[in-house]
């Protein structure tokens, strides 16, 4: 379904001495994701999670490496690949001048949906997350939880086969977080592949079939939460995560 091969991203960077240099945000990671899987990318702040997701969703070009979706290369077939993807960014990026309904409509048009299909689908999705009443309100007026739910619904309008969720529950209360988890699980049951980044370990443990642990741009391990616990002989994924990322920091320091 998804094949990531030796993905590298370097950004221009000014060093301590003021000289222009390069900083490696993602350092040669490779992995694959199966259809219908909920795949989690875990890592501390600055691990390279968002950069990885931005490369995978073609918002940033990789410095090197290859990304394939159902055999289609992002480099060779960008438009066809984009049609397969639904993206829920970490930050709220609605068009502030449009209403809830207009934001949804804009997205549907950008994915080439016809007028009738757009209308039906938008009504269905807003109804699903109980946002039908605010369809004509400006997006600025929505609460944080409403905005998050709307972001996910917007990403689903065009029936994507792969859904990217970048820190989907950040700064949300436990009830809203649980509703989003339920939504993600039901999508995966329906055959949608979910690629999730989070730094909430319990979220990854509750949702993900497999988890990749990323630190300083490198992939430290990739397995099911149960196997990761078993391999390290630790009782929780959180401890596995802490041990791995601390080891990585110590190795770098030496």
């Amino acid at each position: 379904m998804i094949e990531v091969r030796n993905l590298i991203k370097r950004f221009p960077h000014r060093g301590k001495d003021g000289k222009q240099t390069e900083k490696t945000a993602v350092d040669g990671i490779s992995f694959s994701v199966k259809k219908g899987e909920i795949f989690g990318l875990l890592g501390p702040n600055g691990a390279g999670k968002t950069t990885t997701i931005r490369m995978m969703t073609m918002q940033t070009r990789p410095t090197a490496g290859e990304i394939l979706y159902e055999g289609l290369s992002t480099r060779e077939e960008p438009q066809r690949v984009k049609e397969l993807l639904g993206i829920v960014p970490q930050h709220i990026n609605f068009d502030q001048d449009l209403t809830v309904g207009e934001n949804m409509e804009l997205h549907a048009r950008l994915y080439h949906m016809g007028a009738l299909e757009r209308k039906k689908r938008i009504a269905e999705l807003l109804d699903y997350v109980e946002l039908s009443d605010v369809v004509n309100d400006g997006v600025r007026r929505l609460s944080g939880g409403m905005k998050r739910r709307l972001l996910i619904m917007r990403a689903l309008i065009h029936h994507p086969r792969i859904l990217f969720l970048d820190e989907p529950t950040v700064a949300l209360d436990p009830q809203v977080r649980r509703r989003i988890w339920d939504m993600v699980q039901s999508l995966a049951k329906g055959g949608v592949t979910v690629f999730l980044t989070t730094h909430y370990i319990e979220e990854a443990e509750a949702l993900c079939d497999r988890v990749a642990i990323l630190a300083k741009g490198r992939l430290l391990d990739l397995d099911t939460p149960a196997n990761l616990r078993e391999k390290t002989n630790l009782p929780s994924l959180e401890e596995v995560f802490l041990q791995m990322t601390e080891k990585q920091s110590a190795a770098k320091a030496i």
Binding site: M58, T60, I87, N93, D95, L110, Y111, H112
Partner: protein, 248 residues
């Protein structure tokens, strides 16, 4: 081709929805500056001035059209800067399967519409003030080219500049000097030859020349038309390049 047109339509639709909601406010606010220009320079100062044997009002209306269409088209596209830098809503377009040029064309067309609406108000006010102006298809084409050129400059600025403050500096250092020096309020012949050399290389000067000539029923300068087309095409190439590079 059909899909490309659909994509352009989508980008234009977004701006049309926003404009439609604020249309009355937009139209009223666009009357203020030209009305002041016409009162001050047409009735006030203009009564005692004659240019080329005609009234100063007739001389100044093409200049007001040129500078106003420049300002409106530039300012219509600058919200793209906030969409890119602050709201991040441009990511929606970058990650969507649309033809990348459609975003540029859609935004330019939306800016063109705003600037032409504003120009129509100026023409109506100018006629009400008694100005004589010949409108022709070529006159409208020159006006449209001017709008597109400055919308393109606004687009390039929105893609390359990272702060609101610097966006404001484009107005201060580029648009404001052009507003006064590019043959809008007086003949560029009055300027020193070195300054004139620079002024003659700027697009607004050629728009002023062309609108004034065509508005008074004279022939258009082929060189000025060429300069406007040149700016339009070169700047378009920059717009597309910078939009595509958003994902670098």
């Amino acid at each position: 081709m059909q899909q490309k047109l659909f994509d352009i339509g989508t980008v234009f639709w977004r701006d049309w929805v926003v404009l439609k909601r604020r249309l009355a406010k937009f139209l009223v606010s666009r009357m203020v500056a030209p009305l002041l220009y016409l009162v001050a320079f047409g009735w006030g100062l203009g009564r005692s001035i004659s240019v080329d044997g005609g009234s100063y009002l007739d001389f100044i209306v093409p200049g007001i059209l040129a500078l106003n269409s420049m300002n409106i088209s530039f300012n219509s596209i600058t919200p793209v800067h906030a969409e890119r830098v602050y709201h991040k809503s441009l990511e929606e377009y970058v990650s969507a399967p649309i033809w990348p040029d459609a975003f540029v064309i859609g935004k330019l067309l939306a800016a063109l519409l705003r600037a032409l609406l504003s120009s129509a108000i100026i023409c109506a006010l100018a006629f009400a003030f008694g100005a004589r102006l010949t409108l022709s298809p070529l006159f409208l084409l020159v006006l449209a080219l001017n709008c597109i050129i400055f919308a393109e400059i606004g687009f390039v600025a929105a893609m390359k500049i990272n702060t609101f403050e610097e966006m404001g500096q484009v107005n201060t250092y580029i648009l404001l000097p052009m507003s006064f020096l590019c043959g809008t309020f007086f003949h560029t012949a009055a300027l020193p030859s070195l300054v004139r050399l620079i002024i003659d290389a700027l697009p607004l000067t050629h728009t002023s020349y062309l609108l004034r000539a065509l508005g008074s029923g004279q022939e258009a300068s082929a060189l000025s038309l060429f300069v406007l087309f040149f700016y339009c095409l070169v700047l378009y190439a920059f717009c597309v390049r910078f939009f595509r590079r958003l994902s670098d």
